[in-house]
Symmetry: C2
Subunit: 198 residues, 2 copies
């Protein structure tokens, strides 16, 4: 049986999709998720609302698809060959993601909306959080294979450590950080994981 294509799927133009994505990010930064509207995004992108609805059924679906497409690949980091190098690279990648525009504005806004709307939190976890964690996990599995981490290492806790330390210090507290802060986070995470010293 042939799979039905959504009507109009054949005529989706990548240039229009990119213009809509830019408009979604700009509206999220300026207005926030709660006040973002399909109308506002269409207007800013210079397209009709039908161009949006041809791609996504709802505002939530549109926003999360746009964010996932950009932020999931951002979780990929170089394979440096050592656990320390890989953790350090992920500290840098997560710091850039959480502390630089546009996501330094967008993420705290979505967290606040998620506190009001548990279904939004679930949708974010499914489309962004879990895929990002899946992209990052092989780094830790390679370290186990190399004998740099114990076999039973709690990989979920390992990933929470890097993101949690960076988010709490830089986004929640907005505390000043010294130049050696990324190295100190790396050391802290390695100790927390019981990493075999190199």
């Amino acid at each position: 049986m042939k799979r039905r294509e959504p009507s109009g799927a054949a005529v989706l133009q990548p240039g229009i999709t990119a213009a809509i994505a830019d408009a979604v990010l700009a509206e999220l930064v300026e207005r926030g998720y709660a006040r973002l509207s399909m109308e506002g995004v269409a207007k800013r992108a210079g397209v009709g609302k039908s161009a949006l609805y041809r791609r996504w059924r709802t505002k939530r679906e549109m926003v999360l698809a746009v964010l996932a497409e950009i932020t999931v690949p951002m979780a990929e980091a170089a394979d440096t060959g050592t656990l320390r190098g890989d953790i350090r690279a992920s500290v840098d990648a997560i710091t850039a993601w959480l502390t630089e525009p546009p996501f330094s504005r967008i993420i705290p806004d979505l967290v606040a909306e998620s506190a009001r709307t548990p279904e939004l939190a679930k949708a974010i976890a499914a489309t962004i959080g879990e895929p990002r964690r899946a992209v990052g996990r092989p780094r830790l599995e390679r370290a186990i294979a190399r004998g740099e981490l114990p076999a039973g290492t709690d990989l979920e806790m390992a990933q929470d450590l890097v993101a949690g330390l960076v988010y709490w210090r830089m986004v929640v507290r907005q505390a000043p950080v010294e130049p050696d802060y990324p190295d100190r986070v790396t050391d802290t995470v390695l100790r927390a994981l019981g990493a075999v010293p190199d």
Copy 2:
């Protein structure tokens, strides 16, 4: 030289202050910091706006004074006599603070506002963040004095670890946690700090 009292200070009634504080919390939960107004708080508390301005000069001052009065004492935790016991108690205290109403709604909203307004972030750090950390610090200093932690322990990182892990997992990710999660956070923090095993 006699210190000048703010005019009207003699007639501030604690019952009215308490009613205003309740109204501030309720407005923060329902409307958020950006849309909270002196008018709205006065109306909900059943007082005139002058009752607010007699106590605080601005909305920001009022909100932070109310939050500080409640949340700074929440950072105090029992002196259990061991580092493990003290860390476990602070995991529970911070989890309750960050994940239960009204602060489960109020804190993410203030973090989102702080991302837009750096001066708000600074004011929150000065009135809430730093005082809370000062209240919690003696727990760690006692552990150093008992020889349970190395003398040079990074106390700021130690405090970030507990709050960062709990906030990222439970508030940002809203991920389900197993009953042994608080113990696993405690173990992770102890290892990260290089605590001498008991």
